[in-house]
Symmetry: C2
Subunit: 345 residues, 2 copies
DNA sequence: CTGAAAGCGCTAACAA
DNA sequence: TTGTTAGCGCTTTCAG
């Protein structure tokens, strides 16, 4: 049996389809009509067709979430939060993985198909071209990341510079003086911001020195190779802390240190960033900056829903405060030794 | 400026809207018409409205992926694979998180809105009620998990019993004789199957003995607590291997062993299941059975697309072969000691 | 408060 | 090959 339409509900209730529609939606009808229609709808198991509704109303009750790589734990965390908010508001979530190479422009172009009422976009690189496209997008867009100050696009950003500052302050406070920043690719937004944040933080500590090194990817393997190189050169260029640009690189560094016989945190502190589940799983646990991925996802979804509800509202740029989760990988030396005795190091 | 419609394209090209539609879709038109329409469409930047198309054609070019918890790494891995296949075939992916409590029945009901052309469902519990609902679903469904033999639903299943057999064989071959199976909740499909698989595998090794213990969740915290209890009781009930029902429980066990001063794999082998990214991150690395999550996701998507293309085709039940990834957590003793000297244990 | 009718944008008969 | 027309299922004027 085919799905019942509103026409059949109306027929069974003995009213016009217009009345049926009104009774079901606005409730603007006589009590008697509403009752009859509800009963008929229930009897037939009527559920309105979202395709027809979309066409008529010009909205789909769907939102898009587009990121470079939906497998990335940070994006997954955001997505869960987004999905939660979105579902609670009666929207569906359409995901699209843009791939690390593309510029997200295709995603914006796709919006013109009208299949979603809004977009949450986390672009790897924010180009002028992209911003321009977003301003002209047919539906509201919220950017997870840095949108230019003067743009008219809502955005939710992490505060990685401040996060970096927290990490560096913590390392210096626990006695580290020669820090190496292990970055991913510098031509990405996180790569650029985190490195700038690191250097700015170091500038506040004249008694400590920091240098930087860029791995080709934000991955464990890249982090491992990069850390290996840095640790191998330690005779010429000593160090007592590695500040990784993200958890994956940090874990790679943790493994490299382990394999090269460095004691963490005895000889070397290692920190990550993003505070993914992975950071909790390593031993020693990886100290990491939580940039509030879930919180950012939640806010992005709320901003988007608010703008859909009120398209002319003021532009919002929300920054989520980071927090530092200190784990064993960056404990101060006395603590570190106590830990090592238990067999952790 | 509003999105151009096919009416405007037709007007600019100087043909009827029907001709414009044919030229754009089937290409059944004179070369001249096709050329004119293409030019007009390009000039206006025309993109067909997917809402109107959905209503007219009765299909949305969207598929749904529904799992209990989209934050779970296994589901994420599947989702990535699904998204990959689906996007390559011109479909969009709508995700929905059913929550651990629900029976997935709401998801099936939602299908009647007609917003997707098919569903990939990974139910936590497969009830008769659910299967019945799936058989009556208005669009094709592929189940990730066990569908009853006689049902008419395509499904892709992991072979966790065989995976368990591989783990147990490996542990026995490396000298372990007293195995404890650390399960999650037994009233879930994976919980039941994995425990049965463990017991069946043990039956093949009369010289070894195995017992089981159920944690309330498939989480690190539950695994930690459960392992703690089992290890505390080791005087009365000795053991030399923990077989965890999944990686999270395995990692919890790894941490508990560490904290209680057990050397892994010196005193104790620990294994997980699912071979998530997490298993690679721990030290010692967690031996784990790869149940082919990505492969299952890929196959499920392909099965769904095939059924949509040919609704009357034969029912397919595909089983993906597991593979064992041996890491340091279950090395044989000689190897284990060599590793320990390097400071891993 | 209710019903008739228009129409969202598109595709697919059908006729020419 | 082309144009005319109906209609997918629904909401929303507009009269009554």
């Amino acid at each position: 049996m085919p799905r019942p339409t509103i026409t059949q509900v109306a027929a069974l209730a003995g009213v016009s389809i217009a009345s049926a529609s009104r009774a079901l939606n606005d409730q603007i009808a006589s009590a008697e009509t509403i009752e009859k229609v509800r009963k008929a709808a229930a009897e037939l198991g009527y559920i309105p067709d979202s395709r027809a509704r979309s066409l008529k109303l010009g909205r789909t009750q769907q939102l898009a979430y587009a990121v470079a790589d939906i497998g990335n734990p940070v994006y997954v965390e955001m997505m869960s939060a987004v999905q939660h908010v979105v579902a609670a508001s009666g929207y569906r979530l359409v995901i699209s993985s843009t791939g690390t190479t593309s510029t997200s422009l295709e995603v914006v172009d796709e919006l013109r198909r009208g299949h979603v009422d809004g977009l949450i976009l986390s672009p790897l690189r924010v180009t002028d071209e992209l911003i321009q496209a977003l301003e002209l997008a047919p539906v509201p867009v919220v950017v997870l990341g840095r949108a230019p100050e003067e743009s008219t696009i809502d955005s939710v950003r992490a505060d990685s510079p401040r996060g970096m500052r927290m990490v560096v302050d913590h390392l210096v406070a626990t006695g580290r003086r020669r820090l190496v920043f292990l970055n991913g690719p510098r031509d990405t937004t996180p790569g650029r911001l985190r490195e700038e944040g690191f250097l700015a933080a170091m500038a506040a500590h004249p008694d400590a020195e920091g240098r930087t090194f860029a791995a080709p990817d934000f991955t464990i393997a890249s982090g491992y190779a990069a850390a290996q190189k840095v640790l191998d050169d330690a005779d010429d260029a000593p160090l007592d802390a590695i500040v990784a640009a993200n958890d994956l690189i940090g874990i790679g560094a943790l493994h490299a240190a382990d394999d090269l016989g460095w004691s963490v945190p005895g000889d070397l502190s290692i920190t990550g960033m993003d505070n993914t589940e992975l950071a909790e799983v390593t031993r020693p646990g990886l100290t990491s900056v939580d940039l509030g991925a879930a919180e950012r996802g939640r806010l992005a979804a709320e901003l988007l829903l608010a703008r859909i509800a009120e398209p002319t509202r003021a532009v919002h740029t929300v920054t989520v405060a980071p927090s530092l989760t200190i784990r064993a990988s960056s404990m101060a030396k006395p603590l570190a030794q106590a830990t090592a005795e238990r067999g952790v190091g």
